[in-house]
Amino acid sequence: MVTSSTTRSPLTFVVHLTVLFLVVMWTIPTAGLFISSIRDKDQLSVSGWWTALSASEQRLVTRIEIPKDQSMENGQYVIRGNVFAEAGDNTVSQFGYSSLKPQAFEAGTKAEMKKGKTLIVQANGDYVITSPKAFKGRGQRVFYTAEIPPRFTLDNYREVLTSEGLGKSFINSLTVTIPATIIPILMAAFAAYALAWMKFPGRALMVAAVVGLLVVPLQMSLIPLLRSYNVIGEFLGTGSKTYVGIWLAHTAFGLPLAIYLLRNYIAGLPREIIESARVDGASEFDIFRKIILPLSFPALASFSIFQFLWVWNDLLIAMVFLGNNEEQLVLTGRLRELLGSRGGNWEILTASAFITIIVPLGVFIGLQRFLVRGLLSGSVK
């Protein structure tokens, strides 16, 4: 936009670098989350996700099991085996038999132990332990340092979707979100048309009220509504935590923005088109259905994306109006619960968080055009 031929090249270079830096800053947190969620959980807990592609050096320990029939070779009792539970490209670099010196011996060398015992661990993990007497008691512990190649897996997702209940929460989130997106659109579209094109007393006041309500904090509503819901739930015998209850709550909290955006859009439609329909004999309902709704599609689309993201991502309203019981927990609520109960298990948390954000991210990337348009119509004049 601002160009000056003499200063352009060095300046542009700096701009490219700065933007690149910022983009990295903004994407790395999410990237880290995603990469971590598909790493093996043992690797995840000992090394940073940025090392995911390089082999990780881990200090491990295993206890040699003593078989019932101990074999004899050359007058020595011998046990053979491999330190790794699963075969792979793992390599042992050092080993030791005491927790004080876990890296005392290079792989392939012979360690002389007390009472004439010896231990050899090869680089591929094979070990041989010999003893002049029969092994008894608890088996010998072997400490070893191993290079474990990177391992990626979907096990974390499998686990959270089934045993951690995220699958159920996913459906709960959908059950909350879809009606809580469609109902306010319907209500707001009708109200916006009335506020934009119909004549009735108090119209200007209502428009001002909607603008005012745009910023009323949810917190104001929580306590009175919770009390009302308890009374109504008791009266109807349904309890206070119902899907209908949360739909209506989301609907009402989304309405001010919906009415505001849609009214601005509908009021901007050409007056002559609406008058033309009136001359053609269309009733107000016909005009709304056959003229306004089709023409307002862009505004309806952008609001529905907003509302969808907002409802899907909401935690507060879900916690207050749907509660924390296992059957009705939505994704955000589940994630918060896991954050409390599985705080250290990053394989669970990262996979759960990614499942929680994948739908909004998809919606966001697919429909960004509408979203931006909606944002702009709401704020730039």
């Binding site: 490219h16 904090p217 931006v372 730039v380």
Partner: protein, 336 residues
Amino acid sequence: MGQLISALFVMSIGVLGCAIYFYGSNLLLDICFPTKNRPHLVIAKNLRITNTIRPWLFIGPALLALGFYLIFPVFDSLRLSFLDRTGENFIGFDNYSWLFSSSEFFESFKNNMLWLIVVPTAATFLGLVIATMTDRIWWGNIAKSLIFMPMAISFIGASVIWKFIYDFRSGDDAQIGLLNAIVVFFGGEPQAWITIPFWNNFFLMAILIWIQTGFAMVILSAALRGISEETIEAAVLDGANGVQIFFRIMVPQIWGTIAVVWTTITILVLKVFDIVLAMTNGQWNTQVLANQMFDWMFRGGGDSGRGAVIAIIIMVLVIPIMVWNIRRANAEMEGR
């Protein structure tokens, strides 16, 4: 599977019910007061009646919902703030005097002010800078999309993402949190960041800034594009350099938009709750009003009086912005 079917069933009932209301009520009105195939005088009369009733059919549900969910609670919260924890007995200003003598309140109020100053300013400033820079490079739109992306992530999801970044391992264990890994790489001591009083507030704010910068950027970028090229060309001819053009020609022309972005983020900050709840739940001096209010709603079975008082404080903080918004909207409507 069964859960999915019952979910679909419940959803369609909800949506259809709403649609049936609108369709049915309008149909009923047209049947009761027909405006077709009747003598002209009857039509004229019926038309007057339907024209009076129909706006209320259209706007009625929205009006009821807004009234019950947003307007009534404002007054009820006010009433509850004068009642005790059960919401039954009048206790005058006790809740208010409790609030103003509670150190927890002052801590959250102080933190809230910090949030209010830092987050909108940082997000708006970064948004403006990024918008200006991305407008000048060929891959600007890709960059914008990526920076905009956190907008789609829930606060709680973002909290997990950042908690992972702030993760702390004691002793010689390898750090798996990015921030500590960087600190260690440069030879520093790893820290449990979110437990360091005062500074931990900034680590929480970073999350919201990360989310909101994209919003500011998108809107400011559109505003910058709305500036007429000719004023910039005129400034170039007048001999202004890039920085002068930015601050003296471009920024003044988009003041209105900057103010809108700033207030929008301010409102959001006042309501911020999920991040604090998930990251610290108010420990280590990070409490904020919204989380404190939520806390009192349920603490020890819930104290509606004290919860309501905190809600009122949040509302009072919002009122100036509300008035400003309404004025702006009114001026705009008159301009039409």
